[in-house]
Amino acid sequence: MIYDIRHVTTYSYETQVSFARCSLRLEPMSGAGQKLMSHSVDIRPKPSERTARRDFFGTLTESVLIETAHRNLRIDSRSRVSVDRQALPRDAASPPWEAVRDGAFEASSLGADSPVGYVFASALVPVLRTVTEYAAASFPPGDGIVSGAADLMRRIRTGFKYDPKATVISTPLKEVFEKRHGVCQDFAHVMIAGLRGLGLPAAYVSGYLRTIPPPGQPRLQGADATHAWVSVWCGTALGWVGFDPTNDLVVANDHIILAIGRDFADVSPVDGVIVGARKQKLNVAVDVLLVE
């Protein structure tokens, strides 16, 4: 399948901003069952400097410097991506989760693909005893990693309330877990925390969902904004498999990956510091159209 994606980020400031230094991670990745066909980012006001490099996780990161005074910052990103993934059944045969855990700890690489990078607490995902115990209920001894992860995903989908007003990006995971509400990145963080507590490698994925569902299917939660889900390492043979706890879906062809990291902090699409604004307002619009 081929998708056309338009992702427009607009910051409006109360007062003039004289200076902005931003990091953009807006280029959809190639790999993991998808291929980037074209991509462009237009920034207003025009930056005085733009440099791009691949970060540790392989994400194209653009550093942008804006020295023109402005009240609005508009970042317009357009991408075309083809996606071709095999959907993995929720009960697919998979190695016992304990074996996956031991394998991850014994990895001999620190690379971005190595599972060992995703079994420890990270900036936004602490390992908490309560969350680990919650996750443990989905992993009886000897059970397969895929069925366990699918069960945990389902429990988060049914046990947590989707509420865009309940949390902001700085809401700690502990609070999200105790109050059982949040949005897609909260659910992804909770699922990641639970899996890591058990020693299972779990990565954070930022990306998009197709806006208009296939005929006869419901519109997915989070389709009009950037989305987030979880990638779980399921042993050497299966590798990384996507699980979307917001929609209770094993990731297949409705998801387009932007970037993968340990948590939101590693992949945030637009990040930066500014000088001047008293108050800021953010608007994000995402449109994902199926081309063919």
Binding site: Y11, D55, S114, S170, G276
Partner: protein, 847 residues
């Protein structure tokens, strides 16, 4: 300080009569010294005989009379207090005085040479490991280091991976915590590779102790510490691209627990003490915001943890760093010491792999043993720990604290409840990577002085090594922390521990040592040529706070004095009319020094204005504000100046009860303020820093004097009001010598406002401000005159041409407003809160 040993024994002209009581004392100390059973000791060897270096020390020490010893101890304590050697324990809201053990830890030179060689080897090894971890990655790929032992560390910074460290190395300063094990060898307890603290305290301890016992120190042939710091500084300079590099010491700020040390080191090494806000990335470089604009910074010695260094690429919530710093590192534009990410080697889980790594990378055996450590990420080690759990102390593998258990220290399984012990076992079984088991070890004790006796205490010694172009050099000495408790592993300042100086002592006289000065002297150097905007800001406000405190004191004194001295004044012959007192009171209310608005007992108003801390404008509050501001300037203030401010605050806080108390407190404080002004005038370099301090003082005095003139030389003012004004601006004598008549409106106005020769007049202050502004670097844009100068020149012109007769209240009010605008303009122009230099904030929201 002179130190005639044994001077107290007045008959003691012959050696014997002095030695005998000394020998008796020493014998007594040894008899009383109760070594802890089964634990080795520094002073007394295994067989019960004292070690020679300690015997030499105590020989000389015992020759001092008990009274002399106590006096010297007291002098050491006084120095610590006066120099303001402080630290903060976690949770403290104010500084604590640094507790110093009065006895040094003494180490034999031969023993030390071995130890130093081991430390230098270890530093070299760790540098090579870091270069591989963030570079090629062969050690992990070949299994010499398990990936999980690294990946779990919060200090393994993926953003740093692949960056070639500018300056050519990761580690510039390395420290190790060590202790002496039961086998008599020194053992490493932990490595400090992030931003080792303690070297500055070691320096301060040395200064204090070598001063208090200068002859004893001299006679002991103690290795000097100054050359180490020189060589560290020179090496950092050499690591920069430019010949005359600008070096900053990056501190988290004055709320940090070791801020005093940052200030000490910056001053001693001649580096600029900077905070993240002082720095800005522009182009491919890091710059300091100074009063002369952005200036390139070549080297950053950091005392801020790696993760906090750059909100763009590291911890996004940090306000302590510099946005874009990692990108500058990537481009090779600044040397950061130690390189961000170096802290990964502090992980305890790595200890066990070092012997093999040493053979592999250096082709030699690791010289220093370390505390036996089993990383539970490996199956065999995990099984060993689980099978003999109670024989270990359990620690976190990566950082402070044991995951899942409260506190920062180790967990001793033998002391846990059955439940907790079970939980620990489960945790180790399922996530063993997070834990290490460490051998429970009894480290040696060292003597401390306790109520005239010696007592053994466990200690941890931190030793330091600096990278130089010719290899690693080790500080002969170090930072020794002595515990109150028997378990030395829990030593940290905060739970009753003290620190001690460390003497590396040669057993025979070192020929060269007599050529060295008796004490380790501080080499005076000028602070580097640029003045960071933040420091300028603080100096300006320090000047303003102190001047405002002075004006408040004068008001308080004027309010009380006449009541004690009814014979004052020519016309009324008694207390000032209620009218004058009310005007003074009104001013104190306007300044927030008192809230007594009703007509009331002046003594009550004066008391509140003097020392009510809840009133932000009270004299005590103002002096405290000055003290807080001065805290951020520690590296720029002389110890004397700091001491004056501290004493002033301490004394003002002592409660007084009556008029007499108020007046004498006000007078003492005015004297102290004058002595601070004198110190600044006489002792401060006439560099930009002094100018800002003086500008603050002059700006504040100009505003206050104008206000006094408006209040007491108003158009219908009587001679009593004018008399008060003359007192407030300290011009009684000048006036009387000049006019020989009772106070008259025009002459008083002229003297207080216009007279350019009167150092207390408004005109004099404005002339001073003008001179300073003209001498400061210009940031000229478009070649136009800059705003502070424009305002100051205009005010000076007005004051030069005005006539006293025309200085009505309206004119005075306008002048006051102009002066306030001038003060603001100086702030906007030079300080970091200006529109072009404000603190960057994060983009927020889920983009």
């Amino acid at each position: 300080m002179s130190e005639p040993v044994g001077q107290k024994d007045s008959q003691g002209s012959n050696q014997e009569s002095r030695a005998r009581p000394g020998q008796r004392r020493m014998a007594q100390w040894m008899r009383d010294y109760a070594r802890l059973p089964g634990i080795p000791d520094e002073y007394i060897a295994e067989g019960g005989a004292p070690r020679p270096v300690w015997t030499r020390f105590f020989d000389a020490f015992a020759a001092l009379s008990p009274a002399d010893i106590e006096r010297r101890f007291a002098s050491a304590d006084r120095h610590l207090r006066e120099a303001g050697v402080t630290y903060r324990a976690p949770g403290d809201t104010s500084d604590r005085i640094w507790p110093l053990s009065h006895l040094p830890l003494i180490i034999d030179a031969a023993d030390w040479r071995q130890l130093a060689a081991g430390i230098a080897q270890r530093a070299q090894l760790l540098e090579m490991v870091l270069a591989d971890l963030y570079g090629e990655g062969r050690l992990v790929a070949t299994g010499a280091i398990p990936a999980a032992a690294i990946a779990g560390s919060g200090e393994y910074l993926r953003a740093i991976s692949g960056i070639k460290p500018p300056g050519g190395r990761y580690l510039h300063l390395y420290a190790a915590d060590i202790g002496r094990g039961p086998d008599g060898r020194w053992w490493v307890l932990g490595d400090r590779t992030q931003a080792p603290s303690g070297a500055g305290y070691a320096l301060e301890n040395r200064l204090v102790l070598s001063r208090a016992f200068s002859n004893l120190y001299k006679s002991m042939n103690v290795e000097r510490v100054a050359p180490f710091f020189e060589s560290f500084r020179d090496s950092l300079r050499a690591s920069a691209e430019r010949d005359e590099p600008r070096i900053g010491l990056l501190t988290p700020g004055s709320f940090n627990e070791t801020y005093f040390e940052h200030a000490t080191l910056a001053r001693y090494l001649g580096f600029l003490l900077v905070e993240g806000d002082d720095l800005a990335v522009s182009g491919d470089r890091v710059h300091i915001r100074t009063v002369a604009g952005l200036k390139r910074l070549d080297v950053l010695l950091r005392r801020v943890d790696s993760n906090m260094l750059d909100p763009l690429e590291l911890d996004a919530s940090s306000y302590l760093g510099v946005p874009g710093l990692v990108e500058v590192l990537r481009k090779g534009g600044v040397v950061v010491a130690n390189m961000p990410g170096s802290g990964v080697l502090e992980a305890r889980g790595l200890l066990g792999f070092l012997p093999n790594l040493c053979r592999r990378l250096l082709s030699e055996d690791l010289m220093m043993p370390h505390i036996a450590t089993w990383w539970c990420g490996q199956k065999s080690a995990r099984e060993q720990v689980l099978s003999r759990l109670d024989e270990f102390a359990i620690e976190g593998a990566y950082g402070r604290g044991v995951p899942g258990f409260p506190g920062n220290g180790p967990v001793l399984p033998g002391q846990l409840s059955a439940d907790e012990r079970g939980r620990l076992k489960d945790a180790i079984a399922s996530r063993g990577v997070d834990y290490v088991g460490q051998e429970l070890v009894r480290l040696s004790t060292t003597p401390v002085w306790e109520n005239g006796r010696l007592a053994p205490r466990p200690f941890v010694l931190r030793v330091f090594a600096a990278a130089t172009p010719n290899g690693w050099t080790v500080l002969p000495g170090g930072f020794c922390r002595i515990a109150e408790r028997a378990d030395a592993r829990a030593v940290s300042m905060g739970d009753g521990a003290v620190s001690a100086d460390v003497w590396v002592v040669s057993d025979k006289a070192v020929a060269t040592s007599t050529l060295l000065p008796a004490v380790d002297t501080v080499r005076i150097r000028r602070i580097a040529g640029v003045l960071p905007s933040r420091a300028a800001d603080n100096l300006f406000w320090l000047g303003r706070y102190l001047e405002r405190a002075e004006a408040t004191m004068r008001l308080i004194r004027a309010l009380c004095t006449p009541l004690r001295d009814p014979a004052r004044g020519n016309s009324t012959g008694a207390a000032p009319t209620l009218h004058s007192a009310e005007r003074i009171q009104r001013m104190l209310v306007a300044w927030g020094a008192t809230s007594q608005t009703a007509r009331t007992n002046p003594a009550k108003v004066a008391l509140e204005a003097l020392q009510n801390e809840e009133k932000f404008g009270s004299a005590l509050s103002l002096v405290r504000s000055a003290q807080r501001t001065a805290t951020g300037l520690r590296e720029r203030l002389s110890p004397d100046a700091w001491q004056v401010i501290t004493e002033m605050a301490d004394r003002l806080a002592i409660e007084v009860h009556d008029d007499d108390g108020v007046v004498s407190a006000a007078e003492l404080t005015l004297q102290e303020l004058a002595s601070f002004a004198g110190l600044a005038q006489e002792n401060m370099n006439r560099a930009a820093g002094w100018r800002f301090l003086d500008m603050g003082r002059r700006a504040e005095r100009a505003v206050n004097t104008t206000r006094f003139a408006r209040q007491f030389a108003y158009d219908e003012a009587g001679d009593e009001d004018l008399d008060v004004l003359l007192t407030l601006v300290d011009c009684q004598i000048t006036y009387r010598s000049r006019y020989l008549v009772q106070p008259l409106l025009a002459p008083v106005r002229d003297l207080a406002v216009l007279d350019p020769y009167n150092p207390r007049s408004v005109a004099f202050q404005v002339a001073g401000l003008n001179e300073h502004i003209a001498a400061l670097p210009s940031l000229k844009e478009h070649g136009l005159i800059e705003r502070p100068q424009r305002l100051a020149v205009a005010i000076e012109a007005m004051l030069t041409t005005a006539e006293a007769a025309s200085l009505d209240v309206k004119t005075l009010f306008a002048l006051e407003q102009d002066l306030l605008s001038l003060a603001d303009a100086i702030g906007l122009h030079y300080f970091p809160h200006g529109p072009n230099a404000s603190r960057p904030e994060k983009l927020t929201g889920l983009a």
